[in-house]
């Protein structure tokens, strides 16, 4: 029997988990990654991964985890997938434990759990403040073991080009571009899983890595996959402001006792603790970010008049700082040059995670036959706001589901003959080559980096913490102008080898359409829900808006569709307040 051939686009946590699960089902797998997989953005996750292990004597339970996730997401997440994910979480932690992850421990040697935002039970397993790096190490090692066994092949430093679809619209492979030689190659496959991560980088100043651009997901969208909930962008309340990047300070800092304050009338004012007595510094991220926004921009109480508030850990014990937060201290010392053990850190909110993404069914199949999606690039699990510690969980869990679904999909279908596939592969390769050639010859007078900066600025001014309809309308116009100006952009690098500008331009080409989706979806949704907040319509409207934003590509205008109702059978929506 021939083995199913599965291609995975992306080598972060969800990609690697998908690969391992597909191999377990008997598939042979090729992983394509734009960076060496060990340098994927998953390594940046700091605070931890949620699972109701109930090891803290707090009567935690899976049902409480489900409730917190649905409630935290302001009831926009479908409830059965969330239920299944939360049920699977304890086994996922045990799997990582067996793989060798260095989880932080209790005195008795159990896996320790810390408190995170929007919950009242200690449920977040962690490895210091580098949990993503720890989980990535474990999966990377297991994938390497499978590589040596001949089950997995990796293509690192390869950029995803496009899907190869046959004339019935079924996916039969991909094209990819070698980032060194710039050669386009086609690869046949029985199924493709997109695990390409989020799209925070389109905002420029974000906590994302430079390659979290959303371009692979946008390419798939343009080839026919439905996109969902693009307007839901998580703003993390505590990041270190920088011109080049906003650097994350994990929620774990506040879970371990860190406090947020500003000076008011010459005295420290712990505004989150005053405004939200029950959750204090650990209100969910959307609420904490809006509170900081208000204190800085409406009350003008930012530290020394700047756009920042204090995040204070100077009162925490030396042992706790060393065991749990050494990486945070180290990052602040290196990038700011001050010791957060002595002086309170200065932080401000920034774009951190994208709840929206490719629409998938419960088996993680997209609307294109043979194409699946998992991880941050899908839209499932987090609704209108993600709880801290649930992103690592959803990345891993969705990979487990997608790996099995992709293998099952192949097993159940007739295998196409290689010859018939080759024609489609070659045609698609030719199109990608022509596109690259066109970009290489662009010789206008617009600087593409300036266009990108303008695009990011435009999104930050309209679709950040507060969203006003008139600003969104202006942004929509501006995006169209920028897209038009891109036609007159210049290719700045003239060398046809290891040319990074080529990939920057290909990405930017998609980002105008991505920005348009974010802005239009935000404009359309006439309510406030989770991270999507309109001061002019500050309430949630369940009668009209308890539905998924679905959008499909059309050359002229994106087509929005709000027919899909959110599944709310298990937990009845109630007002979300903390």
């Amino acid at each position: 029997m021939t083995r199913p051939k599965i291609i995975i686009v992306g080598g972060g946590l969800s990609g690697l988990m998908t690969a391992l699960k597909a191999v377990e089902q008997g598939a042979e797998v090729a992983i394509f990654s734009t960076v060496p997989v060990r340098r994927s953005h998953s390594v940046c996750a700091e605070g931890g991964i949620n699972a109701a292990l109930n090891t803290k004597g707090q009567d935690d339970s899976v049902s409480q985890h489900i409730y917190d996730t649905i409630y935290g997401g302001d009831f926009l997440a479908h409830q059965s997938p969330v239920e299944k994910m939360c049920k699977a979480a304890p086994a996922i932690i045990h799997m990582f434990d067996r793989m060798g992850v260095c989880f932080s421990r209790t005195n008795e040697g159990f896996i320790d759990q810390r408190l995170f935002g929007g919950v009242s039970k200690k449920r977040t397993c962690y490895g210091g403040a580098t949990t993503g790096q720890q989980l990535m190490a474990a999966l990377d090692e297991q994938v390497r073991r499978s590589e040596v066994a001949g089950d997995i092949v990796k293509f690192e430093n390869w950029e995803f080009g496009s899907l190869v679809l046959n004339d019935e619209g079924v996916c039969v492979g991909i094209t990819a571009i070698d980032k060194v030689t710039l050669k386009v190659r086609g690869f046949a496959a029985d199924a493709v899983v997109i695990c390409s991560g989020g799209y925070g980088e389109v905002f420029g100043a974000a906590t994302s890595s430079k390659h979290c651009t959303g371009s692979a997901a946008m390419q798939v969208y343009k080839q026919g996959a439905t996109f969902a909930n693009p307007e839901f962008i998580q703003i993390h309340p505590t990041t270190i402001p920088g011109y080049d990047k906003m650097r994350l300070v994990t929620e774990g800092v506040r879970g371990d006792g860190g406090r947020i304050w500003v000076l008011r009338d010459g005295k420290p004012w712990y505004f989150l603790e005053e405004w939200y007595p029950e959750y204090g510094n650990l209100v969910p991220r959307d609420i904490a970010s809006r509170a900081i926004w208000k204190v800085v921009n409406e009350m003008n109480l930012g530290v020394g008049g700047s756009k920042s508030v204090y995040l204070d850990i100077t009162h925490l014990s030396k042992d706790l700082l060393k065991d749990n937060l050494a990486a945070v201290v180290d990052t602040y010392l290196k990038f700011v040059g001050e010791d957060p053990r002595e002086v309170p850190m200065q932080v401000y909110p920034a774009v951190h995670y994208t709840m929206g993404g490719l629409w998938v069914d419960d088996n993680h199949q997209t609307t294109i036959q043979g194409v699946f999606a998992a991880g941050e690039c899908d839209f499932q699990y987090h609704g209108a706001n993600r709880l801290g510690g649930n992103s690592l969980l959803s990345a891993v869990y969705s990979g487990m589901i997608a790996g099995v679904s992709a293998a099952n999909y192949v097993t159940g279908k007739e295998v196409a003959s290689d010859m018939s596939v080759i024609n489609f592969v070659e045609t698609e390769c030719g199109m990608q080559e022509a596109f690259n050639k066109k970009i290489m010859l662009m010789n206008g007078n617009e600087n593409p980096h300036k266009l990108k900066n303008e695009l990011s600025e435009c999104l930050n001014n309209s679709a950040f913490i507060l969203r006003y309809d008139n600003q969104l309308k202006d942004a929509d116009q501006k995006i169209l102008q920028l897209k038009e100006r891109f036609q007159n952009a210049a290719m700045l690098d003239k060398i046809g080898f290891a040319n990074q500008e080529l990939f920057f331009m290909r990405t930017l080409f998609h980002q105008f359409d991505l920005a348009q989706l974010i802005v239009r979806a935000a404009l359309n949704r006439e309510e406030s829900r989770g991270a999507h907040f309109k001061p002019e319509k500050p309430n949630r409207d369940d009668k009209k808006w308890l539905n998924v934003t679905k959008v499909s590509y059309n050359e002229n205008e994106p087509e929005f569709d709000y027919k899909e109702k959110v599944e709310i059978e298990k937990i009845k929506p109630v007002e979300r307040k903390y």
Partner: protein, 246 residues
């Protein structure tokens, strides 16, 4: 606005001859080397005002978690993202790492770091990724020790600083000692510790290390590599003796 001067060693491709080019870049407080390179990327003009191709370099996370932007900065191996301009003497001299194959400008091919992990069987042998219940308990003291070794970002700084690591030597690099030490400490990992010790005694392993100790000094995550080297040296000796008497 104040400007800084950067002197960059450039190379158009692996077969091309290297050359130097200077750039002037506007500077702001707490600016790092990646941000300076980004300025050049946005406006590729050298210090004589002549248009040139943008400088090619690797970067990804910009918070010293991914290891991508490692290069020689004023002769020392560092991550460009976490190196602040204000702490550097001018002109700031940027060069690619010298122990790896140059792809273009400051970008080098470091995939052989990951190939070394295959040679030392750097994984825990588990039965499967299905649910098999919890693993063994690990106590705090041991977790602390394991954690200090788990922070490797595979940047290659230890290889760059090592007098034994070069194109003609099979030496796999000092980071493998940390990896083996870590895996051999894990409750399940230690079951196959002999496989890793065998690899360590083979080509490119511990015999190729001359205990210079430079690796630990340049490690951005301060991984105690010399402790791992000393401990593994002793363990390979014990292992050889026990094998002899078996």
């Amino acid at each position: 606005m104040a400007e800084i001067r950067l002197k960059i060693r450039r190379q158009d491709g692996p077969e091309d001859l290297p050359y130097w080019e200077e750039f002037m870049v506007p500077v702001y407080p707490k600016m790092n080397v990646v941000a300076a390179l980004k300025k050049i990327q946005e406006n590729p003009q050298n210090s004589q005002g002549i248009e040139t191709n943008p400088v090619v370099w690797d970067c990804s996370c910009l918070e010293e978690a991914c290891g991508s932007c490692t290069m020689l900065i004023n002769g020392k191996v560092k991550q460009a993202c976490s190196t602040l301009i204000e702490n550097l003497e001018q002109p700031i001299v940027l060069q690619p790492m010298s122990k790896f194959y140059v792809i273009r400008d400051l970008s080098v091919d470091r995939l052989k770091l990951f190939d070394a992990l295959k040679k030392i069987s750097a994984w825990v042998v588990i039965d499967g990724i299905f649910d098999l219940g919890p693993g063994e308990k690990v106590f705090k003291e041991q977790q602390r020790k394991m954690y200090s070794y788990s922070r490797c970002i595979f940047c290659g700084a230890c290889c760059e600083a090592c007098p034994q690591y070069n194109e003609r030597s099979p030496f796999m690099g000092s980071f493998i000692f940390g990896q083996i030490f870590l895996l051999n400490m894990h409750p399940l990992g230690k079951i196959s510790d002999h496989v890793r010790l065998e690899a360590l005694m083979g080509l490119g392993g511990i015999a190729d290390c001359n205990n210079a100790g430079n690796c630990e000094k340049v490690c951005p995550k301060e991984i105690p590599l010399t402790e791992a080297i000393a401990s593994l040296g002793w363990k390979t000796t014990l292992y050889t003796i026990s094998k002899f008497f078996r």
